[in-house]
């Protein structure tokens, strides 16, 4: 089965994609950990639980792959798409819910923690999928993945969070995931409709990133007032 998987022809996309996808995953998790800290307080508790649930999700994803899945470019493509959606819309909806449902903090709590596990799960799934596309050179895939994780966890506290904040950071990571999708769509010759949709989505993300100030103001307002008043 695995030998039939259509893989990458050169090494450059493998290196770039593996590093970027690993960095994005850990950035989503750190965004969620910091959001939970901001919403509920208690840095030690939030970060510890996020790490634990992230590793659990990673493990579940890897186990799921071993039992029920197999390597394919299609599956890898879908995983990137799901991660991009969860990282951006999942996170933005978390702020919406925390604004509207302030009387039910447990709902926000449960939603945020499910996001941590689900993003962990798909991040765990993307590693063996990437490995299959990399002709099962496991050590190489894993090393690149760890390197990407390290890069993500250095960039988040030193650059992304202090200069861009949580909302823009999640958008940047989702934009990177989406760009990877688009690249895969062209490499693995997806139907034209899919390519067009992806490019449209990329443009939408770009517009959001350019107008990040407005987006941040809207989300802040929802969070502070619990309504959409003024927008």
């Amino acid at each position: 089965m695995i030998s039939k998987v259509q893989g990458f022809k050169s090494k450059t996309p493998v290196v770039v994609i593996t590093i970027l996808m690993a960095a994005c995953s850990i950035i989503y998790e750190l965004v969620l950990a910091q959001t939970l800290t901001a919403l509920f307080g208690g840095v030690v508790l939030r970060y510890s639980i996020t790490i634990g649930l992230y590793l659990l999700g990673l493990g579940l994803g890897a186990l799921y792959f071993e039992r029920y899945s197999h390597g394919s470019a299609d599956r890898f493509f879908r995983t990137q798409l799901i991660l991009s959606t969860l990282g951006s819309l999942g996170f933005i909806s978390l702020i919406f819910i925390s604004g509207w449902q302030y009387d039910f903090p447990w709902l926000v709590w449960a939603y945020a923690h499910s996001l941590i596990v689900i993003i962990g799960f798909f991040s765990g799934l993307e590693i063996p999928l990437m490995n299959a596309l990399n002709k099962n050179k496991l050590t190489q895939t894993l090393s690149l993945d760890y390197l990407g994780g390290l890069i993500g966890s250095v960039c988040f506290p030193l650059i992304l969070y202090p200069y861009f904040g949580l909302i823009t950071t999640s958008l940047i990571a989702a934009f990177i995931n989406l760009s990877l999708c688009t690249y895969l769509a062209f490499t693995f010759k997806k139907p034209t409709g899919v390519k067009v949709l992806l490019i449209v989505a990329l443009v939408v993300f770009l517009i959001l990133l350019i107008n990040q100030e407005t987006l941040i103001e809207i989300l802040k307002n929802i969070y502070i007032t619990g309504t959409l008043n003024g927008y």
Binding site: V43, V44, L45, S48, Y146, L150, L158
Partner: protein, 536 residues
């Protein structure tokens, strides 16, 4: 070690080892946070470095397997020794490099890599110990152990035990595994036998003496830090050490509380209370700080029963000064740390400053997170909302970087503004640091405040003695509201200090409009780290 172990035993060992490994990691992240501050950076970097070095460990296993005649016992012994000593090592390095800085930071992160690397090598070892090499099953149990550890550390270990004890006992657990393997496998070589015996002795010593040893280490570390911080005389910190002593040091679920006493003759004498890295109270300015803060609260109030909220202020000293004015009808103290409040209530030294104000019937205590409390209040319908005539932020300093910065965010100030009566005021102390002040002002503006009244305490005898300048400001304060106002009714029962302060400052200080400084407000979603005061 070519034997295999029964699956059930192997899975239990897997869970325990994964548990130990994640606890080490969180322990390191927290220790680095307590030494250097900046929890976001510490935790994020720890996660990244740990996963990275674990990966290296897994990859390196295949190299070590043959050359070192693979020995899990050896690995566990090394890991348990590292785990038991790592926190001591970090504090010792931090102690030696207090005035150097970066060295201990590098060593701390290198230690994360060492422990991550060793933990990474465990997994393939365990797989090799299974007769059927069931990799995914063992990996699955590894993740369960990790989750247990990630829950146990913040919920059980961190609130109840010192970081040193957690390190020692988790390492002991690691050693028990090594011991079990030793008994089970009965290795031939003398190396293992001697190692196990020596490490066993080491742990007996550690369990018996680690708490007194850790107290010694912490005490020396804190004394040196204090001596470096409060050195008005210009002499070396070593000369100051004989004159200072740690009176009390403990951790509550929320912060480290430490009281240091400078003996008479040293400058300045008296007690200093630290909350985490920030100075909260010092005897030589305790009165001028609280009397100025209470005067500023009462100065702009009308002649009516006043409803006041204090965020923090669990020491009860500010409440005592406010209660001297009969207009004060109710004080809500919202302070998260019950253990700290109970300590202050019963401490003989601080009783002279708070006069048991926390037991006054006008005082209501809410041991809650101030952020959550005010957010809920501000989102209530007007009929259910509590409106305050003054909200005072009497919070610990921002030296830790990340821990308290949400309490100075645009979101928090908006909740405060929404919880004030129309002519109510918000009062806070602040650092002198210019960019800190600028971000604070911009954030208040973003939260809907329009006017500012700046003040400082400066007529204390202490400012003359220790700062050699009677006009020197000791503490800085900001009062903010949404409509400019004059002092309305004279506060009553003023102390001599307060009367002098009023005479000197009432005409000098004036309300000024809050201006857009063109910088970014500090938000929980997008921080502005200029809020954190720079080191001197």
């Amino acid at each position: 070690m070519n034997k295999t172990l029964p699956l059930a035993t192997l899975l239990v060992i897997t869970i325990i080892l994964a548990f130990c490994s994640i606890v080490y990691q969180l322990l390191l992240a927290q220790t680095l946070t307590e030494i250097f501050g900046g929890s976001v950076t510490r935790y994020a970097l720890t996660i990244g470095l740990y996963l990275f070095s674990m990966g290296l460990g897994v990859s390196a296993y295949s190299f070590f397997k043959k050359k070192l005649s693979a020995n899990l016992i050896l690995l566990e012994v090394v890991l348990s020794l590292t785990g038991a000593t790592v926190i001591f090592g970090l504090f010792l390095v931090a102690f030696m490099a207090l005035d150097a800085g970066i060295t201990s930071l590098i060593i701390g992160h290198a230690l994360i890599c060492v422990i991550g690397f060793l933990s990474g090598m465990e997994i393939p070892f365990l797989v090799d110990l299974d007769s059927k090499k069931r990799f995914s099953l063992i990996l699955g149990f590894d993740f369960i152990g990790t989750l247990f550890g990630a829950l146990a550390f913040p919920l059980l270990f961190y609130p109840n035990f010192s970081l040193f004890s957690v390190g020692v006992y988790v390492a002991l657990l690691n050693f028990v595994i090594a011991l079990y393997l030793f008994i089970k496998v009965k290795p031939e070589r003398w190396l293992e036998k001697i190692l196990i015996f020596a490490t066993g002795l080491f742990f007996v010593g550690m369990v018996l003496f680690h708490s007194s040893l850790s107290e010694k280490v912490m005490e020396q570390y804190q004394l040196k830090k204090h001596a470096l911080n409060w050195n008005f005389s210009g002499s070396s910190w070593k000369d100051l050490i004989p004159n200072i002593s740690v009176v009390d040091s403990f951790r509550t679920p929320f912060q480290r509380v430490m009281i240091i006493e400078d003996k008479p003759g040293s400058v300045p004498p008296g007690k200093t209370l630290y909350l985490d890295k920030s100075v909260q109270l010092q005897d030589w300015w305790i009165d001028s700080y609280h009397e100025t803060l209470s005067l500023l609260t009462l100065l702009f109030q009308e002649n009516k029963p006043l409803n006041i909220a204090m965020l923090g202020g669990g020491d009860g000293i500010l409440a005592h000064h406010l209660l001297l004015d009969p207009r004060v009808g109710n004080i809500d103290i919202i302070d998260i740390d019950k253990k700290f409040m109970d300590y202050m209530r019963n401490d003989a030294h601080y009783q002279q400053f708070h006069q048991n104000s926390l037991s006054n019937p006008k005082v209501n205590i809410y041991n809650r997170d101030a952020y959550a409390y005010l957010r809920k209040n501000s989102l209530e319908d007007l009929a259910d909302k509590t409106l305050y005539d003054a909200i005072i932020l009497d919070l610990p300093g921002l030296k830790d970087g990340d821990k308290l910065k949400h309490l100075y965010s645009q979101e928090m100030f908006t909740f405060i503004n929404e919880s004030l009566s129309p002519d109510g005021v918000m009062i806070t102390w602040h650092y002198w640091d210019q960019s800190h002040q600028a971000v604070l002002k911009q954030t208040l503006l973003a939260a809907g405040f329009t006017n500012l009244y700046l003040a400082c305490s400066n007529v204390s005898e202490a400012s003359l003695i220790y700062m050699n300048d009677k006009e020197a400001c000791i503490e800085y304060f900001m009062v903010a509201n949404t409509q400019q106002q004059e002092p309305k009714a004279n506060p009553q029962n003023l102390s001599t200090y307060q009367q002098v302060w009023l005479e000197k400052n009432q005409t000098k200080n004036q309300w000024q409009p809050l201006l857009d400084l063109g910088i970014r407000a500090h938000s929980i979603f997008r921080p502005n780290y200029d809020l954190i005061p720079k080191k001197k």
